[in-house]
Amino acid sequence: MKRRLLARGGLWLWVWAVLAFLFGPIITIVIFSFDRSNIETLPIRSWTLSWYQVAWHDEQVRQAFVLSIKAACAATVLALLLGSLAAFGVHRARFFGRDTVSLLLVLPIALPGIITGVALNSTFQWAGISLSIWTIIIGHTTFCIVVVYNNVVARLRRTSATLFEASADLGASTSQTFRFVTLPLIATALVSGGLLAFALSFDEVIVTTFTAGAQNTLPIWIFGAIRLGQQLPEVNVVVTAVVVLMLIPIIIAARLTGRDTFSASSTRAPTN
């Protein structure tokens, strides 16, 4: 009995240690965002919200934030479209070189960002495309497609092909089957793939460096601000805001997938 209690206590300690390891740095940043001093030392002598005011009125931060959101949204939408279409194509069709195509689709995420960045940069220059938000979006879409594709293709593989046959058999046209069967079945895969794509795009630095023109995305601004070292408190504020904002899609995703898990685990199979 005693040993079991001890073991349980040890386990709890371990869990908290891992959580501290994971979230300690983030909590540190949040705490320091309320520190009046711009030199980060403990204990904090004076608390303030003034850095929030500074960040809120900082035109650079605002522009960077808006650009990041725009780019992430556009890249996510493009990735959802192209990624799921590619997944349908590879899953349905039987054509020569299908496995190669599948590998090529996944490759961008394995490539170091710097290679993607340099390659895109030279291509844009060669084609005479000036760097803008659109080049950022194209750059981000290359790796965002992969997560959507992977999610959807995995879901389709786990879905029995007879479901689509059953739908056609019951009189549904191809578009009805897509609307009533395919889409609901891959919906959670699309949501989680889309959220992942959004997150990937939102915090991307390397590819963005090579594809952004004069504009800064938020991560690039943070990167620059840290290097200069003058705006550390403001960086803390921005990071805190981003963490809070990111909680929203994560909670939505957890709710969505949570509902799935619930209906699967609440299975009471009565015998007849």
Binding site: S160, A172, S263
Partner: protein, 336 residues
């Protein structure tokens, strides 16, 4: 104009170099319970899938109610399928599953509900309307799949080994029920199975398939009593195949009798041999008799109380195997 629900004309299907269905022709009558029986790889499921419209034949044509539907996609054919894995939509509850065919055909909500209720009644699933497929037992899922197909009142219902996943007792119950439902709704059933007992129990007619061709079509009694080929004789029940007088004969084990070798002749055909093995099976006893002519025969005798003989034979005994002339069936194309 025609009485046929389904006509299959010279249909061929290949997968790569593999000829799965090799020039099959069939006529299935309206209201019939028709079974395609065969081992796996015999082409029965592929033939069913071609009737449903999931596969296109490489040659030949398929008619439904006299209309050529060979080139028509699955969703425009007046047939419905009960799939082997049931293929219930996991994101819909039972009612939504059953209503699906009516919903995509734009049937009004009220009529949809009524028809779905009637179908669920028929398969005895009342009260489970709002369950998800994952919350149902195998037998219940099977019933939902059946209701989902029947609710559309198709001209032909296709069933692809629908009882394969159920345990024996439930399977036997469902056989009786399926047959009763078929009689009640009067829909033509085309049933695919590899289980000959199932086929015998339910079918009006059975087509026995092997290697992509039909070996024989007939009522259960016909194919059992008069197997056309050695394959049919062996696949439907058990049979002794005997070569005599340049012909191949089929002899059912239960039609053979054993007597002492010195018993007086009875006018029946007979052959002497030696008992090799005796297997007591409760309801009956199975004897393996090695004939002097070289062949082995399986003989089955029911263990009736009055049958003192059954207790007397033991391995090594000399016996006479005899049978009525009419119980020896010559098979048509005796392939040696």
């Amino acid at each position: 104009m025609s009485q046929s629900a389904v006509e299959v004309r010279e249909v061929v299907k290949r997968f790569g170099d593999n000829v799965v269905v090799n020039g099959v022709s069939l006529d299935i009558l309206t209201g019939e319970f028709f079974t395609m029986l065969g081992p796996s790889g015999s082409g029965k499921t592929t033939l069913l899938r071609m009737i449903a419209g999931f596969e296109a034949p490489d040659a030949g044509s398929i008619f439904l109610q006299g209309e050529d539907v060979t080139a028509r996609p699955a969703h425009l054919r007046p047939v419905n399928t009960v799939f082997q894995d049931y293929a219930l939509f996991p994101h819909m509850d039972v009612v939504a599953n059953v209503e699906y065919g009516l919903r995509v055909r734009k049937v009004a909500r009220k009529e949809r509900r009524e028809r779905a209720q009637r179908a669920l009644d028929m398969v005895q699933l009342k009260g489970l309307e709002s369950r998800r497929p994952a919350q149902l037992s195998g037998g219940q899922r099977q019933r939902v799949a059946l209701a989902r197909a029947i609710v559309n009142e198709p001209a032909v219902l296709l069933l692809d080994e629908p009882l394969g996943a159920l345990d024996l007792k439930l399977r036997q119950e469902m056989q009786v029920e399926l047959k009763a439902i078929q009689r009640r709704v009067g829909i033509t059933f085309i049933y695919v199975t590899h289980d000959q007992e199932e086929a015998m129990a339910m079918s009006d007619r059975i087509a026995i398939m092997n290697g992509g061709v039909i070996e024989q079509i007939g009522a259960p009694r016909d194919v059992y009593e008069h197997p056309a080929t050695p394959f049919v004789a062996r696949f439907i029940g058990t049979s002794n195949i005997l070569d005599r007088g340049g012909k191949r004969w089929s002899l059912r084990p239960e039609r053979l009798r054993l007597s002492l070798v010195d018993a007086p002749p009875t006018g029946d055909d007979r052959a002497p041999g030696q008992i090799q093995d005796v297997v007591y099976l409760g309801m009956m006893t199975r004897y393996i008799v090695h004939l002097d002519s070289g062949a082995d025969l399986v003989v089955v005798r029911t263990n009736e109380g009055s049958d003192a003989l059954s207790a007397r034979h033991a391995p090594g005994d000399r016996v006479m195997v005899s049978w009525h002339e009419r119980d020896a069936v010559v098979m048509d194309h005796a392939l040696i």
